[in-house]
Subunit: 319 residues, 2 copies
């Protein structure tokens, strides 16, 4: 059974939009079930009685080819009749819920209330949408990212959507992470002897990847790895393509540079892929004892996603 023992599996850690793009590239390159994408649930929240899981949905929509590439979040071909009607009834309209997107939230919230776990529900949704990769919430237990800021402690979506990421951050808290376990069944699925590469997608280090690593079971699992961890930088020329990662670094008194990212992840990452705009940083990273290469990390469409996924896996094989 040497084939079954071969290192063919890939595990990716992902947040939402940027991470979801690379996750989709990996899903196009890795044979379906051999890919597991562990998704941040720290920015999940309860809104109008619905459990909304923005990062899971971004990954699911990307893998199902249903994401809106223009807007960068939600579903393509979305309509907003629900929001129009909601505005007649309520002032709770700060979070946009598309008519089609709402099916996800209503279906998931209903199943959660009837006792299903988030990972069971996500697996069902993926099967229904023809997604063969395994999309795994980082935990079935609720973990909620809290943003400490000059406006006080804010729930993540309040900070990110309602307050448009404007408050100055001073720190982060992942409420519930100490009690959170990995989803049931994930131990056998992620047998370290079978994994060829672990990929950290180009997601926000503070609010997309750190909530996952704040769960002891995941950070311990990562430390016990016997395969390379390759991280793709979310920065292009010292700015995040989208989202507040670089702004957060500056507010925390850090420079928004590759080297700072390398320090943040420390020995959890064996190799970095950074953008060609930051190619000058390769030498310094390698001098620090961490493998590094530069390439075009901007993913304008699925062909870019596939190309970058291939480069990531080829780099992992060389590390």
């Amino acid at each position: 059974m040497s084939g079954a023992d071969a290192r063919t599996r890939v595990v990716a850690f992902s947040g939402g939009v940027g991470g979801a793009k690379l996750a989709n590239g990996l899903a196009q390159v890795v044979d379906g079930p051999a890919l597991t994408i562990i998704v941040n649930t720290g920015d999940d929240f309860e809104h109008l009685g619905l459990t909304v899981c923005p990062d899971i949905d971004s990954v699911v929509y990307a893998l199902a080819g249903k994401n809106d590439a223009e807007r960068g979040w939600g579903r393509e071909g979305e309509s907003w009749q629900f929001m129009t009607a909601l505005k007649e009834l309520s002032d709770q309209t700060w979070f946009q819920l598309g008519d089609r997107d709402l099916a996800m939230h209503v279906y998931r919230s209903w199943r959660l209330r009837t006792g299903a776990t988030l990972s069971e529900i996500t697996a069902h949704i993926c099967a229904q949408l023809g997604i063969r990769a395994r999309v795994l919430p980082m935990s079935d237990d609720p973990v909620r990212t809290l943003v400490h800021s000059d406006e006080g402690v804010l729930e993540f979506q309040h900070y990110f959507v309602a307050r448009r990421a404007e408050p100055r951050v001073t720190g982060f808290e992942f409420s519930g992470s100490a009690q959170a376990a990995r989803p049931a069944g994930s131990e056998t699925l992620l047998d370290p002897k079978r994994i060829a590469a672990i990929v950290i997608c180009p997601s926000n280090p503070f609010v997309s990847i750190r909530p996952i690593l704040a769960i002891d079971a995941w950070s311990a699992w990562l430390r016990a790895r016997s395969c390379p961890v390759v991280a793709v930088s979310p920065f292009i020329g010292r700015e995040a393509l989208k989202g507040p990662a670089a702004k957060m670094m500056r507010e925390l008194g850090l420079e928004a540079t590759t080297m700072e990212l390398v320090r943040i992840y420390g020995d959890l990452v064996d190799a970095w892929i950074i953008d060609e705009a930051d190619a000058a940083d390769v030498e310094a990273v390698e001098a620090a004892g961490v493998r590094c290469m530069s390439t075009a990390t901007l993913m304008r469409g699925v062909p870019d996603q596939i190309r970058l996924a291939r480069e990531v896996l080829e780099f992992a094989a060389r590390v």
Copy 2:
């Protein structure tokens, strides 16, 4: 304060579609807050974790001018993107939820979970939509109509929508009605000395009006009246315009006639308005000691609703 003591108030008992039409006619004729519409909640149900109140919504949409007059239920200008997306995820698609209509269900379910009562939520919705009449659920306590049939005991929406009212009914049960109270505050609002008329709208006697009367507080209040109760027959030529009322009567071994309706309501109704197609029945009803008149009860649009509402109130004034 003789003005305040004048009998200017009107109370209507209503189910969904047919009842909502007359309720809207009354709302156009009676000065806003002087009209209270007590609405059946026996066919409310939980669907995908949402509390759906079809009769309240039919009345609210009619009074807000947002009802779909063609289809006979739901909102005008409705779209169905949510259902399209839901079908990708789930087989729980037997009940149609329009994109705009969904705002009502999501908003109400959320408020119920946060501890608001159905009557408080309904009052808020009416205020938001500019409805000046008071729309009052028959109770804030859950009452659920169960249809006993040749297919067993069916929840009402299962019987009505999923099974298209095809099973042969043998009886009805109003689960929870023994424990159900009138909404808080309704006692003072409905001070019998100030009420000019009580109207029973042209709704199904078994599954729209009986659930209301099954609540002791309402039937006792009706018996203690000091003003006439005028009922409008839901039949036109021995058939219900819409819905299974006549079919139910036949299945219960009753004739779908005016006289049978008169017997069903007994002394709870002082005067009947029946359709001109059934004008021949007027004499028999009056011979039984109940006032009766015939007119055009078909309401094709708001002008018909207003005309019939005026006739109802004029008849009540003469009884």
